[in-house]
Symmetry: C2
Subunit: 193 residues, 2 copies
DNA sequence: TTGCTTAGGCAACAGATGTTGTATAATTTA
DNA sequence: TAAATTATACAACATCTGTTGCCTAAGCAA
């Protein structure tokens, strides 16, 4: 297993290989669905030896983890949510961001596959939890930040996931407005906004 | 694939085979951990042909799903939570039940394995959602029952999961007391209790 | 540049997976 | 009881999986 860190100087060969693998992986997933994609598929498309794959990732699930983490992080940065403090408007934007990300991820993988969605969930929730905990701590609330952040991040992800599966779902914005008070109640920060 | 329903008259051969598989599966999991268990393991222990396994379950993940669903359902029935209406005390008991179930499940599988936990999560949350939605509907709240039940069930599971991973965790009862208001706020039913 | 370090290519392996076809035995239905 | 249905056993299969050892070549540091 080679070094994993994202923000570190990497051997250009490593960078190249991982990019090829990630790219081939996304292609294969959108084409055949996550379940049907084998490590063989990925490495053949990428023009990388199969053994090399295992030098970077234990299995295809780890590669999915890695890709999702990276994509969601980029999404948060693009929307400048990773560098701000709590406000109702920011919370609203966060809900929208999660809804759109989850919806987009799931659309790449019909029919719904629990394994795939679980891995997306784990990565997204981890970053949500971290972000919300920061917001709570900075706002100096009286609740336990970790506990509140846990409840809130799970609630947000759950609502986003349900929305994304809704056959005739409302526009993201109105859905966000609808659930905002519910989500905010987990943070106990309404008054400090 | 044979018929799945739980509460139906089953061919005794099917019942026997599934019981043997479930039993062998649980043995193998507690002994080697979920990841390391192969379909071979299970069928050899059970004295069942490997091909027969695939006549009942698509893979070992489906068997885990099945087992967990069954165990959690039994747990709820034992605590008589599946046949009651909302009250703060019942909600408290529910939180405790989930904490203990999750903790017990995870203890069977060290070190923590996301795949395993994700499958447990999916099954537990599905039943939580159903139960909470019933509570909300029976209480005749003004919130959307589905949305509130989603937020609450995810929050409950998330908190239980975090508690179960806490190295020096407080007793279940005091943890339940601590998070109860947070959980209840998702239901918007505090006044009707 | 030279030499050291390390990633990737290649081949081969044992093992697991999922599937198929046929035969046998258990169960149900009439 | 006799005939039907259907679950299981068994064997064999192509495929995928993780892993290993050896070799080549790309990158880095003196």
């Amino acid at each position: 297993m080679l070094s994993i860190p994202t923000d570190e100087i990497l051997d250009p060969r490593v960078k190249r290989t991982r990019n090829l693998l990630e790219q081939a992986f996304m292609e294969a997933v959108t084409e055949k669905g996550f379940q049907a994609v084998s490590v063989q598929d990925i490495t053949e498309r990428a023009g990388i030896n199969r053994a090399t794959f295992y030098a970077h990732f234990p299995d295809k699930y780890a590669l999915l983890d890695h890709s999702v983490r990276q994509m969601f992080r980029q999404e948060l940065e693009k929307r400048m949510l990773s560098v701000c403090t709590f406000s109702m408007e920011n919370l609203r934007q966060l809900v929208i961001a999660v809804c759109e990300f989850v919806s987009n991820a799931n659309s790449h993988c019909a029919p719904p596959q629990p394994q795939f969605e679980s891995l997306v969930e784990t990565q997204v929730k981890a970053q949500l939890q971290e972000l919300l905990q920061n917001w709570i701590e900075q706002a100096g609330s009286d609740v336990d930040p970790k506990i509140a952040a846990t409840a809130a991040s799970w609630a947000v992800y759950g609502l986003a996931s349900q929305w994304s599966h809704d056959k005739k779902r409302p526009p993201v914005e109105s859905f966000a407005d609808q659930v905002l008070p519910l989500v905010a109640s987990n943070l106990h920060l309404m008054q400090t906004a």
